[in-house]
């Protein structure tokens, strides 16, 4: 097995890991000020033209409920609200940072990976809505980025990534089991490095670092629990592929805490499928 601490250190020292655009920080600051107007947010975002066109494309999709009706960022803020627009900007920025990269590994299909990630986000948002969790948009982003550590490994630790994949194929096991066996560290910890560097909200960092619930006694986080369950459901529904063909064990803690016994599963699966369809627009950013 490789030295997990050395792998972590190697990744931490990579200077070319993408950063999030300054506009994210600017919007976060603006949102803390009660005097901020929709125009202020609009002005801040439109300084980045490429980002603006992506944001407009997303807010005009069926996913946000106003297809083809939003003409400016200010208009988007008025209709969708500050928080939603901030989340859209964050989502578009994440795609900008990573999605254009072609997989250097022939055994890892990037497009299927993104489909799995987008579907997990859509499922997390649906599940959050179903259980009455109020941060459903945050759940979408959490689902979208939960496997970001795999992209990091694929791009910046190609030899280690290949080792994980070859072992996974040989053992026909889960991706994270193969990571633990060969590297002693998983995409959860590696993804955590970028989640911290990007200064993402705690809930998003938690979902990246602990969506497999490998440590059962960790403090319970609703968002990471929602992502854990969503990952399992979209795997079962065959939406994309995150790097393996198996289903991990659902944590009993998550199953009970999210109240799955009282959820009408057929309706939930219908809703997830419908939401994944609406999220198709995100595939156009890949």
């Amino acid at each position: 097995m490789k030295d997990p601490a050395a792998i972590r250190k190697t990744l931490e020292n990579v200077s070319t890991i993408p950063t999030l655009p300054i506009v994210i920080e600017k919007i976060t600051r603006l949102l803390q000020n009660p005097q901020t107007s929709a125009e202020d947010i609009g002005k801040a975002i439109t300084t980045d033209q490429a980002l603006t066109s992506k944001v407009l494309k997303l807010v005009n999709s069926a996913f946000y409920g106003f297809p083809g009706r939003i003409s400016t960022i200010t208009h988007a803020v008025v209709i969708l609200g500050f928080s939603t627009v901030k989340n859209v900007v964050l989502t578009a920025s994440i795609f900008d940072a990573f999605s254009k990269r072609v997989s250097a590994n022939t055994n890892f299909e990037m497009e299927k990976f993104w489909l799995h990630s987008i579907a997990c986000g859509a499922a997390a948002q649906t599940l959050a809505k179903r259980i009455g969790h109020n941060a459903k948009e945050e759940c979408f982003i959490a689902g979208l980025i939960h496997d970001i550590g795999k992209i990091l490994m694929c791009n910046y630790l190609p030899a280690e990534f290949e080792l994980v994949i070859q072992n996974r194929i040989k053992k026909n096991c889960l991706f994270f089991e193969s990571e633990r066996e060969t590297l002693g560290i998983t995409h959860q910890e590696l993804g955590g490095i970028i989640a911290e560097r990007w200064n993402l909200p705690e809930a998003l960092q938690g979902a990246v670092k602990n969506h497999h619930y490998t440590v059962q006694d960790k403090e319970y986080s609703t968002v990471s629990g929602i992502v854990h369950a969503s990952d399992i459901l979209v795997r079962a529904l065959d939406f994309g592929n995150g790097g393996d063909d198996k289903i991990p064990q659902m944590s009993e803690v998550v199953w009970n805490n999210l109240g799955f016994e009282n959820i009408q599963m057929q309706q939930l699966l219908e809703d997830i499928e419908s939401e994944v369809d609406k999220a198709a627009v995100f595939m156009q950013l890949v």
Binding site: Q266, E270, E273, M283
Partner: protein, 126 residues
């Protein structure tokens, strides 16, 4: 007379529409093909609009989204469309069993398996 002329024009347009549109499997999409009909997902929402210029990679993407065929501009070459047949319940069960093979002994996972199986079977028969 007017009625007859109008009807002829309508028929001509219809014939043109029929002969200028062909249905192809998504794996046969090539660059610069133009969508003759919008593509909808399984729940009916529009994935790509009519007139979209396609690329081969979009075909791959549509397949990932569960879309089997699309209508593109051009003449129909063959009325037969192969490969769009549904999956049998047995095939659904076998594929799911392979995915769940390591966890199927667990009671919670059995519930998830049963729900997804039922969903897929109902979905296939629609």
């Amino acid at each position: 007379m007017h009625y007859y002329t109008n009807k002829c024009i309508t028929y001509n347009i219809l014939i043109q529409i029929v002969i200028s549109m062909k249905r192809i499997l998504v794996e046969n999409i090539t660059d610069k093909m133009v969508l003759a009909k919008e593509v909808c997902g399984t729940s009916g929402s529009v994935l790509l609009g009519k007139g979209t210029i396609l690329t081969a990679s979009m075909g791959h993407r549509l397949k990932n989204w569960g879309v089997l065929s699309v209508h593109v501009d051009g003449e129909e070459e063959s009325p037969q469309l192969s490969g769009a047949a549904g999956v049998s319940p047995e095939e659904v069960r076998n594929a799911l069993e392979a995915k769940f093979s390591r966890v199927i002994g667990n009671e919670t996972m059995k519930k998830i398996f049963a729900a997804v199986y039922k969903f897929k079977i109902q979905h296939n028969s629609r």
